[in-house]
Symmetry: C2
Subunit: 245 residues, 2 copies
DNA sequence: GTCATTTTTTGACGATCCGTCATATAGTCA
DNA sequence: TGACTATATGACGGATCGTCAAAAAATGAC
């Protein structure tokens, strides 16, 4: 039977699973939900449809698996960002950069997310994968919340009356999510005068932190330099790949 | 031929068109993209499928028509909000309330928007309806931009270095869009500790305005009272319908 | 090397739903 | 009333999902 780690057969199966996800990602990127076609996946990989269905019980399972792949990457970026050595607000800035890099490195994640959150697709996915996505989301939320709490503990942040840690995290999340969603679905931004939506998002992110009186404020500190430092120290590789110093 | 405004026949056709949209909205709300079924629409209204296709050339046209219906409502709410008599920041607050009411009154709009912005659906819609949605979006953007510019003119707002009017509008748009998207697609919020996402959004909206130093700041003015005043003076009806004093 | 047994793969098939179009029905007007 | 036009119908072709009985491949005992 199976030797210590994985049978040859098991390895083959795992490799095939990854190949399925690879071609699926391309198809999805190029043609959206309708562009992802089970027959074409099988044809492309020179397997039969039945074999593909042996890996994923339905189209939706493939899509959510793709989402999970990139959510893992995001998680990792967040974890590293939160470890930046600096003031709490600087660590929060690092998380902002992490999100930015995530969007640049995995540009199709938002499309995939939009699809799985759409219509009854969510309900056609397996309980197992659904809880996996929830875990990733909760963990990311938790990491950011930790930085906020740290800021409070250190006395660098005093939340306005009635505002909770979670409210603030939610706001930053919503801003980022909304900004990147709009960026990837709306071709009118330039018409509307938003030339550099990424920079605009950065600025608004800082506005929220300033509005919450998170010291040192933008006006009291050179955060452009902080961004450069974080980029160099924590995300040198990612920045090169993303082409954003 | 046609009398003055509309033939009886024309009126009938228009009424039927509205009926199609009505049942479509219900189907979409209940079952998402897949829940919207051309045969079922026909069956429900006791017309043949061909007749439905006489009104809308494809499923996607129905969906974008639904989006346009609600975008008209939003436009109207924005227009009225911008007319509130008060400081520029108070008018901005009125717009915030307008978005909030929009979400409460037309809860399925975000689902519809997510669908039309998904995959190749956007490209299957008619040029005509696509430009219509763009116009609505640009006009809304323009209204908000106007309030910001007014704040600058009056000296109540001085934008931070490098930030444009459009950047600020984009930020507020992204925050709202993201917040309501998350609210309607994520059932983990309560788990994460965000009990009242609408209130959280309001607070973060104010954070951005505070961060931009838009006077008077939250700390200098009773904006809870302003919300109540706007609700009473501009949106009494909507607030009643939305059940939010 | 052979053959029985288990595992894996296959692709034809049923079902669903979109969009079309030849035909049927209803409406209009001389 | 009847000829002609406008509108409505639903059977049909095509695409794609997911299934499953049958075929092929792998395994292992002798």
């Amino acid at each position: 039977m199976k030797s210590s780690p994985l049978t040859r057969k098991q390895r083959e199966i795992q490799e095939r699973q990854e190949k399925i996800l690879d071609v699926s990602r391309t198809m999805l990127r190029e043609g959206g939900y309708h562009g992802l076609n089970m027959d074409r996946i099988a044809a492309e990989l020179e397997y039969s449809k039945g074999t593909i269905y042996g890996h994923f019980s339905c189209k939706e399972e493939i899509i959510i698996a793709l989402a999970i792949q990139t959510m893992e990457k995001r998680m990792e970026l967040f974890r590293r960002a939160a470890l930046f050595r600096g003031s709490s607000r600087e660590r929060m800035t690092a998380i902002g950069l992490a999100v930015e890099l995530f969007v640049l490195l995995y540009p199709d994640h938002f499309m995939v997310e939009r699809i799985i959150r759409t219509e009854s697709i969510w309900l056609k996915t397996s309980e197992e994968r659904r809880t996996a996505t929830n875990h990733f989301e909760n963990d990311c939320f938790g990491i950011v919340g930790g930085v906020v709490r740290d800021g409070i503990t250190r006395g660098e942040l005093v939340l306005p009356d009635g505002m909770s840690v979670e409210d603030l995290v939610f706001g930053l999340w919503a801003l980022s999510h909304g900004a990147y969603t709009i960026m990837t679905t709306n071709d009118q931004l330039v018409v509307q005068g938003v030339r550099e939506p990424l920079d605009a998002t950065r600025r608004n992110y800082a506005m929220i932190l300033d509005g919450a009186q998170w010291r040192p404020l933008s006006s009291e500190h050179d955060y452009a330099a902080v961004y450069r430092q974080i980029a160099q120290e924590i995300f040198p590789d990612e920045c090169r790949r993303a082409n954003r110093g």
